[in-house]
């Protein structure tokens, strides 16, 4: 495999595109959002935990 072929192959298999980084950040944001929904942290974002009370029970997570 020459240099050009190698570069083309790397380009084909490359997964770290700018678009994927943005979407990965969206994913991390939603994962943090779900932690707020399930475990509270009302001092950081007040109200979210209470608003999702029925959802938390229904989805089977521990509540109070």
């Amino acid at each position: 495999m020459n240099g050009r072929e190698k570069a083309e192959r790397l380009g084909k298999d490359r997964v770290l595109t700018a678009e994927n980084i943005i979407h990965a950040l969206v994913l991390i944001g939603f994962a943090i959002f779900m932690v707020f929904v399930i475990y509270g942290l009302d001092s950081v974002v007040p109200g979210i935990h209470d608003a999702f009370h029925d959802f938390r029970h229904s989805a089977g997570f521990l509540c109070h």
Binding site: K12, D13, R14, V15, E19, N20, H23, A24, V26, L27, F30, A31, F33, M34, V35, V37, I38, Y39, A51, F52, H53, D54, F55, R56, H57, S58, A59, G60, F61, L62, C63, H64
Partner: protein, 134 residues
């Protein structure tokens, strides 16, 4: 190795999760293991948002790990990932229950309902995934 397209995983997961949120609301209202604190009108957008959050995470993991999982079919992979992610959120709650049993209470019927619904989320996302491929 396939190119990862997180947008596709996130989109399918979010749409599937919103549908799942409504399924969760309907199942929970039917089974009545607990009394709702809020009205249905308040809960519809809340359940859709919560469902989208869960679905989005499952969809993203489907995109990234789907081809590496030792299971055949998108539905089986969806169920495994969905249950795994449900457990990731559930297990810390069990530890919190051990630390503060008065604050975090164990309610077995609700947890079984949640586990079952996590499987349903996997089925919905797996089904949408399969449909997207066809």
């Amino acid at each position: 190795m396939h190119a990862v397209d997180l947008k596709r995983g996130i989109s399918i997961g979010a749409y599937g999760g919103m549908v799942w949120g409504l399924v969760v609301l309907a199942v929970s209202a039917y089974l009545k293991f607990f009394a709702f604190d809020f009205t249905i009108l308040h809960d519809i957008p809340i359940f859709m948002a919560g469902g989208a959050g869960m679905g989005l995470i499952v969809g993203a993991f489907m995109e990234v790990l789907g081809e590496r999982l030792p299971f055949e079919g998108a539905v089986a992979k969806g169920i495994v990932l969905s249950v795994a992610i449900w457990l990731v959120f559930f297990i810390p709650g069990v530890f919190l229950h051990l630390i503060k049993p008065d604050r975090y209470t164990v309610e077995i019927p609700l947890h079984i309902q949640g586990l079952f619904l996590a499987m349903v989320l996997g089925m919905i996302i797996g089904g949408l995934w399969k449909k997207g491929r066809d």
